[in-house]
Structures are given as structure tokens and as C-alpha cells.
């Protein structure tokens, strides 16, 4: 059991991010920040092909922003919610980049950033992290035919339609080429262990994931990680899970209440888009991170962020077989570094 968070051996910067969102997400409070948005079909004839197309577009945008081409990226960590992670495979197959597929349910965005940071901090120069989700691929795969329009309980979350791609580099010249006065740097990561509290309700993923988030955050605190000087951004517990997380941590003497944000509560405006307990899906945290958090950080409007990606590990057959839902949560700490503090010779690229 890893007793303390890992730090990349070399400084690792998030040098660019691309975000591609669906129509409902476009109408939300972050709508103006997305690099690209469409009508959920993205010119394709199936939802699955549309989701893959979002990943392809997000990666292309991230590459263009960083003034790089695919072959300049050493490897990509990618995943999604579709069976066998195929949105990632089909979305990224056109890029000539070594591909490592991941599955961490909604924690996949954090898992990809965590592994990308450790990779770019040690054995390669540049890595990419790409994740997506699509309401229509997830809904029919995990729950009901989309056309059925089944009633959802108040604890249910709405799978976001969106993709985010992040380029990570240990090169100072890469970092200095990016827009803004600050560069987001991944300073610490802590992978999470599974926690299973016996939740079997697939319409209450927040309750399944919150104990895992509490576990990772309290392990981080116990190892000396500082929670005081940073926003704690979970993704995606929604309203139900966020409340449980705050209660669980308070019982351990950790109060994150005022500094807590949740990606699932940032994507939609509950006044205009009723998504019950909030948004979810790998695409939700990817959109919030790519379009909003990292942008604010680059512009000097956001301090340290402790991003805790949360995932509920289930599938359609496991719920039919009455299995409970283990949660998992991975922690990635990101800090804004003023460009003036980055030496141009660092890291080689």
C-alpha cells in the first residue's frame, strides 16, 4: 500500500487541453468555454462512433494548441465507459501514438492524468491523457434503450456527453509555449484502493463512490498531504455523493466543506437542466478540467487543485447478478506555476 503520494521525478506540466462537448453540456454554465461542441452525433451514424469522434477531435485540438503533431507524443493513456473502452480505441486509432487503454469508470480521467504525469515525469518526455463519455452510449449500455425514456430516481446522475484530451510534458519549452501567465503542474499523485460499502443501486453511484473518495483523501492527509491550501475537486460524486463525502471526512476530523467542488455539480445549471443528482461519466470531469479548471489556473484565477476522480466499478451483468458496486478514487494535485519560475532549459523539449 503506497503510504505517501508520488511525485513525478521531473516537473510535469499540462501544456494543453482540448474539450469537445455535446449539446446539453453546451447549454450549461461552462458552455462558452468548450473548444468545440456539436449536436451529440458529430456527423456519425451511431452514438458509439460519435463518442469516438469526440476523442479524435479533442486530441486534435490539444495537439494544435501545443503546436505539436501526434508523432511528437510518446504515449497516450485513454479510456471511457463503453464496453472494452472502444471509444478510446476508435477515437485515437488514427493517431500514431503508443496506446495504453485504461478502465476506471468515471475515475478514468484522473487515472489517465496520474499515469501520464508519472510517465512524462520519468520514462518519456510527453504523454497524453484522453477520456470521454456519451449519454446515449452509456444509457443504452448500462440501463435502458435511450428511446424508452425510463424514469430516473433523484439520486441518479446524468452521463455527460463530452471528451477531454490533455497533453503532459516535462519540457519547459513546451510549457512556456502555452497561453496564460501560469502553467498547471502536476505535483503529486496518489492512486486509490477500492472501497465496497455494499451499495447495489445503480441509480446511486454517488453513494458507491463517496467512501472511496473519503479513503483516498484521508490517506493523502495522513501522509502529510496538505488539504488546507487547495480546492478539493471530486469528479463526479453529484449532490448525493458530495454530501456523503463531506460527512465521512468530518467523522475523521477532516473538514473540506468550504473548499469542496464537484465536477458533477458544475456542468449543468439545475435551474434550466434538471439532471437530478448531477452529471457523471469520464467526460464530465474531463470537460470541467480541460475547459474550466486548467483555464482558470493558466490565467491566475485558480490556486492549487486536488482533483479526486471517482469511479463506480460495475456493469450491466454484475447488477443483474446482484453484485455490489466497489468505488475507487485517484488523486492528482495540480498547482499553477508562474512562467517566470520555469527555466527554459528544463526537460529538453
Amino acid at each position: 500500500m503506497q503510504s505517501k503520494p508520488s511525485e513525478p521525478a521531473r516537473p510535469v506540466y499540462v501544456i494543453s487541453a482540448g474539450s469537445v462537448a455535446g449539446g446539453r453540456e453546451k447549454r450549461g454554465p461552462l458552455g462558452d468555454l468548450f473548444d468545440f461542441s456539436g449536436d451529440d452525433r458529430f456527423g456519425k451514424d451511431t452514438w458509439e462512433k460519435a463518442e469516438a469522434e469526440m476523442q479524435r477531435l479533442a486530441m486534435g485540438i490539444a495537439l494544435r494548441k501545443a503546436e505539436l503533431v501526434d508523432t511528437e507524443i510518446d504515449l497516450v493513456f485513454a479510456g471511457d465507459l463503453v464496453n472494452q473502452c472502444l471509444s478510446s480505441a476508435f477515437g485515437l486509432a488514427d493517431y500514431r501514438i503508443p496506446f495504453l487503454g485504461l478502465f476506471g469508470a468515471c475515475s478514468t480521467c484522473a487515472e489517465a492524468l496520474l499515469l501520464g504525469a508519472l510517465a512524462a515525469g520519468s520514462w518519456v518526455r510527453r504523454a497524453a491523457a484522453v477520456t470521454s463519455s456519451h449519454f446515449c452510449t452509456a444509457e443504452r449500455q448500462f440501463r435502458m434503450p435511450v428511446e424508452y425514456g425510463g424514469q430516473r430516481p433523484p439520486t441518479a446522475q446524468w452521463t455527460a456527453t463530452g471528451a477531454g484530451a490533455f497533453l503532459l510534458s516535462s519540457g519547459a519549452r513546451d510549457a512556456l509555449r502555452c497561453g496564460g501567465d501560469f502553467v498547471p503542474r502536476i505535483t503529486e499523485v496518489l492512486p486509490g484502493a477500492m472501497v465496497d460499502r455494499g451499495i447495489t443501486d445503480v441509480s446511486n453511484m454517488g453513494a458507491a463512490m463517496a467512501p472511496a473518495a473519503a479513503d483516498t483523501i484521508s490517506r493523502y492527509a495522513a501522509a502529510g498531504g496538505s488539504l488546507q491550501d487547495a480546492a478539493v475537486l471530486t469528479g463526479d460524486l453529484g449532490a448525493e455523493g458530495s454530501g456523503i463525502l463531506i460527512d465521512l471526512l468530518r467523522a475523521e476530523g477532516i473538514d473540506i466543506g468550504e473548499r469542496h467542488l464537484d465536477c458533477g455539480l458544475m456542468l449543468f445549471d439545475p435551474e434550466t437542466e434538471d439532471v437530478h443528482a448531477g452529471a457523471s461519466g469520464c467526460g464530465c470531469s474531463a470537460l470541467v478540467m480541460a475547459a474550466s479548471v486548467l483555464k482558470d489556473m493558466r490565467e491566475g484565477n485558480m490556486g492549487d487543485v486536488i482533483f479526486v476522480g471517482t469511479g463506480a466499478l460495475t456493469n450491466a451483468m454484475a447488477s443483474c447478478q446482484g453484485q455490489s458496486i466497489p468505488g475507487v478514487a485517484h488523486l492528482v494535485r495540480i498547482s499553477p506555476v508562474p512562467k517566470s519560475q520555469i527555466r527554459e532549459t528544463e526537460g529538453g523539449v
Copy 2:
């Protein structure tokens, strides 16, 4: 694009391996080598629970062999073929080890060893790699109800029922505690890029994966990797894919013919168990590596092995939607190190 293979920053040893096999695998040529085998149900009432149980058992065996408990392992990389990688989640949820889920289809064993080696070589001391497959979970998920007994074409491979768990450590004391005169050391890794040659036949995964294996092997050779002094062990191309791989490499001036082995051709005896083109599934290469290759290496009966795990990235819906099958292949080079060459103070554990 990573231009040359990565080497773990510190020496990383495979300090133990556990193998758990199904009944048909037990009857094969490696049958006597498996640590445990059962009747494919492993005391459970569904195939999915049985597959998870194989992972749980394999991990327990690997821990016992290394004289370690779960909390002494820093993190585990795991994956399987079941939707959302749930055999790994349910199989390992009882262990208190940070969990990073992977999906690389049949390449997942190599992907887990690759990431585990880089992790144990830099940011943690010990990592685990666990993978599995089960004929009955895979068959009904990807193809037909098991009871249907559909006719399989000659190019089809048989998904192996088995799990393998590997413990990786950068600690010399860990390495020296293991049985045998030699310790397998992971010396180089090279992640593979996807290659899609337009194969759409889900009963010919070998043809879908062989071009990816050829791509990774020729990238390795081009980067100065030595193919002359090692066995090249692919997993799992089967008879069809192995022939294609050898032809593709020969066209590039690389001849691995005499040194080539394939996990898919090692698990079953074609005289007694007709599995058509061979075995496949994450469990196949995991079983061959855990029970046979690493054992031979520890006993001084096997030299360097270049393990090239191959995966076919597809799912049931993608084949219904007429999508082709991208292949991917990850390379892990393992070398036997005489115990006399390992300094006891190395690595700290």
C-alpha cells in the same frame, strides 16, 4: 512516438507469480505447472464470479510465494476481457492495494507488466500485475450463448480460462527470497501503437493483431533492440496470426522464425484438445508466463524473453456496427539474472 524502449530507472524483478487455470487448461501440456486449477466454476454460481475468484486466488498465491501481505504491495495494475474489467475489480476488491484498471484486450498481461515494471522502477517499491480470462464469460459476451455451441471457423481461437498474478519489486531482498538460482528481471519495455488493417472478422483475431505485433517488434529493432539473443514470445496470435507475423517481419528483413513462440500455441495440445487456431485471452499469456516461462527462467532453463502481448480492440456492438478491429502489441523484455549478481542492499526491500 516513443523512439526507443524504456528501461525502469531501478532494476525491477518479477519476484513471484501465481497461476490459476481451468479444467481444459489443466489437461494441456502445462497442466502440471499451474499452482491451482479447478472445474471452471471455482465454487461460484456464475461464470463472472468464477473469473473474479481466479484473480483473487492467483493474487493470494503470488503473495504467499513472496512472503508478503497485500498492504506491502504499493499498487496493482489489472484487467480482463469482461465488460468494464469487472473480473479484476471483484477479484481484487478484497485486497487493500491501490487499483489501476487496464484494458488492452489480450495484450493486458503485457500492458500490466509494462506499467508495473515502470512503476516499481521509479515511483513505488512493489507493484502487482494481474490478468484473467474465462471461456464462458468471454464466449457469451462477445459471441454466442455458451449453450448454443456455435460452429467455429478454423481461424478462431479459444479463450483460455485462467488467471496470472505477478509481483514486481525493485528490492534485492525481495528478489533473493524467491526460489531458483536466477531472478527474472524486466529490462526494457516498449508500448505499442494501434494498427488497423481493416480486419472485420471476429473469428480471426490473429490476423487483426499480427500487424500490430510486427509494428512493435520492428520499432524495437529499429531502436537498436536486440532480437538475436532472445526468444520472441507473442501472446496470443495463434496459428493464423503467428504465420502472418513471421511473413510481415520477413518482408522487413527481420527473421524471428526459429526463435518465435506464441502463448496461444503452448497452452493446449492440438492432438487431444482441438482449439482450432490456438488459445487466446488475457488469461492465456498470463498462464504461460506465470507457470512456464518465468519458472524456466528461474531455474536457468530459459534465456532472455521478448514478450509481445497482442490485443484485438473490439466489442460486440462494434462488430454489429461493421467496425474493423485495431490491434495493439506491447513489448516487455525479461532477462534472467543470476542471484550471485544481485547486491542485497539494492532497492531497499
